[in-house]
C-alpha cells in the first residue's frame, strides 16, 4: 500500500533521513521505533508532504506521491496525525471534525458525513459530550482523541500516527491503543511511530527500527519483542514500567 525506496529528506542544511526504505501492506499495523532524534517525525512529515524529499521514491497504492504537497496527499487517502495534538484550538470539537472531511467536501454526501461523524463519536464518546466545546480547552487526552478523530474524518485507507501516546496518562494511552486495534479490524492500515515501543510492538504486525536516519532492522513485531538488542536499546527499563502502568490503568 505504501512503499518507500531510498528516501533522503531533511531541513535547510541538515539531512535527517539518509536512504530509508520500507513498505506497509494493506491491513497491517506497522510500527517504527527509534531513539530521540532518529528522524521518525521527519520521515512521517516527508510521507505526508510537509517536508520535501531530496531523493528517493514514495508510492501510495502504486501512485507516486513523492512530489505532492501535503494538501493533496490527504485526498488520496493517506493521512497524518502529527506529533503533539495539533487541533484547531479556537474551533469547536465538531468544527474540527468537520474540517477533517475537508478533502472530501465535494464528494461526501450529507448523510454519509453524519454517519461517519457518528462512527467517530462511537469510538470516542468523550468527543460527543464535548462537541460544542473549543478544542483548545480540551484535556491533553481529549485533544489527541480529537486529532485522531479528525484524521478519520478524511476517510483514509492509511493512517500515520506520530507518538499518539506522548505525555498522556496510562489509562488514556490504553484507550488510544485499543482504538488503533479496532481501526485495523475495520480494515484501516496503520503506520505508527512510538516512543512507547513495548505497547506499539504489542499491537503491531511488523516493525522497523530506525537509527540516525536509516532503517537498521525490519522484523515481525513478535521477533522484535524477543530481539536481545532491541530489548536492551528500546524495551530495557521501559519494559517493566509500562506493563505495570498498564495494569494500574486497568484497575482504575
Amino acid at each position: 500500500m505504501l512503499r518507500i525506496r531510498n528516501l533522503h529528506a531533511g531541513y535547510e542544511n541538515l539531512l535527517v533521513i539518509k536512504g530509508a526504505s520500507l513498505h506497509v501492506n494493506p491491513g497491517e499495523i506497522v510500527t517504527i521505533i527509534g531513539a530521540n532524534g532518529a528522524g521518525k517525525t521527519t520521515l512521517l512529515q516527508t510521507l505526508a508532504g510537509l517536508v520535501r524529499p531530496r531523493e528517493g521514491e514514495i508510492s501510495f497504492d502504486k501512485t507516486s506521491i513523492t512530489a505532492l504537497p501535503a494538501e493533496r496527499i490527504v485526498g488520496m487517502g493517506c493521512v497524518l496525525v502529527p506529533e503533539g495534538r495539533q487541533v484547531f484550538g479556537t474551533l469547536t470539537v465538531e468544527e474540527n471534525l468537520f474540517l477533517g472531511s475537508y478533502s472530501r467536501r465535494r464528494s461526501l454526501p450529507r448523510e454519509e458525513y453524519r454517519r461517519e461523524l457518528g462512527d467517530v463519536y462511537r469510538l470516542f464518546p468523550r468527543l460527543e459530550e464535548r462537541s460544542g466545546q473549543l478544542a483548545g480547552t480540551l484535556s491533553g487526552g481529549e485533544q489527541q482523541m480529537l486529532a485522531i478523530g479528525r484524521a478519520l474524518m478524511a476517510g483514509p485507507r492509511l493512517i500515520m500516527l506520530d507518538e499518539p501516546s506522548m505525555g498522556l496518562a496510562p489509562i488514556i494511552v490504553k484507550t488510544i491503543f485499543e482504538v488503533l486495534a479496532r481501526l485495523r479490524d475495520m480494515g484501516k492500515t496503520i503506520l505508527l511511530v512510538e516512543q512507547n515501543a513495548k505497547a506499539a510492538l504489542r499491537i503491531a504486525d511488523r516493525g522497523y527500527v530506525m537509527e540516525t536516519g536509516q532503517i537498521i532492522l525490519e522484523e515481525s513485531a513478535a521477533e522484535l519483542l524477543n530481539n536481545k538488542d532491541v530489548q536492551r536499546a528500546y524495551l530495557g527499563k521501559e519494559y517493566k514500567s509500562i506493563a505495570d502502568l498498564g495494569e494500574q490503568g486497568e484497575r482504575q
Binding site: 490527504v74 493521512v79 502529527p82 484547531f88 474540517l99 475537508y102 478533502s103 467536501r105 483548545g136
Partner: protein
C-alpha cells in the same frame, strides 16, 4: 445640552463608529486567517473610494463603486502574491512589518495617481442638504446608507465564518496552519481569500463613507489607527466586539467635541488604545480563554 443635541451627537457617533467597526472587521478577517495585522487596511478604504470617485464621472455610481471594489481587491491579491505568499520566513512579525511598508507605498502611489486634493463621491440618495428628522435630530440619508451597509456586511460575514466551508477553513488556518494543510486545506489560497474579503469590504466602506467624510490620498492612516483601536477594544478577531467597540469610539469622539477642542478628537482613540493595552489586553469582549490560545 438638550435632548436634541445629545441625539445629534449620538447619531453622528454611531455613523462614524460603524465605519470604524468595518475597518476593524477588515483587520479581523486577515488576523483570523493568518494571525497578522494588515496595517494597509486603511489604504483599502482610500483606494476603493478614490477609484470610485474617478470612475463616477464616467459611469453610473453603482458601477463606479463596483470598479472601486474590484481595483482594491486586485491590490489586495497583488499584495498577497508579491509580498506575503513568497515571504521566505513568514513569521507574524515579518508580515506585519511588510504591511506597514506597503501602506506607505500605496499612499505614495496614490499621491502620484491622484494628487493631494480632497474628493468625494456624490450622495447615494439625496444630497448634502437633504436630511431626515429623527426625534428632533437630523441625520443625512447617507448616514443611513452607512449604517445599513455596515450592518449587512457584519451579518453576512458572521454567517460566512461560522457556517461556510471556506469560512471555517479560514479560521482553521489561523488556529493551526500545519494541521490545516494535513486536512487538505490550501492555506496559501485561504490567505489570498482573506485579502480579497477584507479589501472588498474595506473598499465598500470607503465608498459609502466618502460623501460624509471625504477622501484624500492619506486618509487611510487615521482610519487604520481608529480601526486598530476598535479591533483591540472589541478583542482581536471578534467581529461582534468590533461593532460595539466601533460604536464606543465613534460616540466618544463625537461627544468629545462638546467638551474639548476639536483638535483633541483624534486623540480619543489613542487614549482608549493605551488604556486597553494596560488594563485589558484581550479587549472588552475577547474571551480570555480564546485569547490565551492565540499568538497575541
Amino acid at each position: 445640552m438638550t435632548f436634541e443635541h445629545v441625539l445629534q451627537y449620538l447619531l453622528a457617533g454611531i455613523t462614524i463608529g460603524s465605519i470604524y467597526a468595518i475597518v476593524a472587521i477588515g483587520f479581523n478577517i486577515i488576523y483570523n486567517t493568518t494571525g497578522i495585522i494588515n496595517f494597509a487596511q486603511g489604504e483599502f478604504l482610500m483606494v476603493g473610494a478614490m477609484t470610485a470617485v474617478t470612475f463616477s464621472r464616467l459611469v453610473p455610481l453603482p458601477l463606479a463603486i463596483a470598479i472601486g471594489i474590484a481595483v482594491t481587491v486586485a491590490v489586495g491579491v497583488l499584495i498577497d502574491f508579491v509580498f506575503i505568499r513568497n515571504l521566505k520566513k513568514p513569521t507574524v512579525l515579518n508580515m506585519i512589518i511588510v504591511t506597514i511598508g506597503l501602506s506607505i507605498i500605496i499612499r505614495e502611489v496614490a499621491l502620484h495617481v491622484w494628487d493631494e486634493k480632497v474628493r468625494s463621491l456624490p450622495y447615494f440618495t439625496g444630497d448634502e442638504i437633504s436630511s431626515i428628522n429623527i426625534l428632533g435630530a437630523y441625520i443625512s440619508p447617507q448616514a443611513l446608507w452607512v449604517l445599513g451597509i455596515c450592518a449587512t456586511m457584519v451579518v453576512l460575514l458572521n454567517v460566512f465564518f461560522k457556517y461556510s466551508v471556506m469560512g471555517r477553513s479560514m479560521r482553521a488556518c489561523s488556529a493551526n496552519p500545519v494541521a490545516a494543510r494535513l486536512c487538505g486545506i490550501n492555506t496559501k489560497n485561504m490567505v489570498t481569500m482573506s485579502f480579497v474579503l477584507s479589501a472588498a469590504i474595506g473598499a465598500l466602506a470607503g465608498c459609502v463613507m466618502s460623501p460624509i467624510t471625504q477622501t484624500q490620498y492619506d486618509c487611510g492612516t487615521s482610519l487604520a489607527i481608529k480601526g486598530f483601536t476598535v479591533a483591540i477594544l472589541g478583542g482581536l478577531g471578534n467581529s461582534t466586539g468590533a461593532i460595539i467597540g466601533g460604536l464606543i469610539v465613534g460616540i466618544l469622539e463625537e461627544f468629545s467635541i462638546s467638551v474639548m477642542p476639536l483638535a483633541y478628537k483624534d486623540a480619543i482613540a489613542i487614549a482608549i488604545l493605551l488604556l486597553i493595552m494596560f488594563f485589558r489586553p484581550s479587549g472588552l469582549f475577547g474571551k480570555q480563554e480564546v485569547s490565551a490560545l492565540k499568538e497575541f
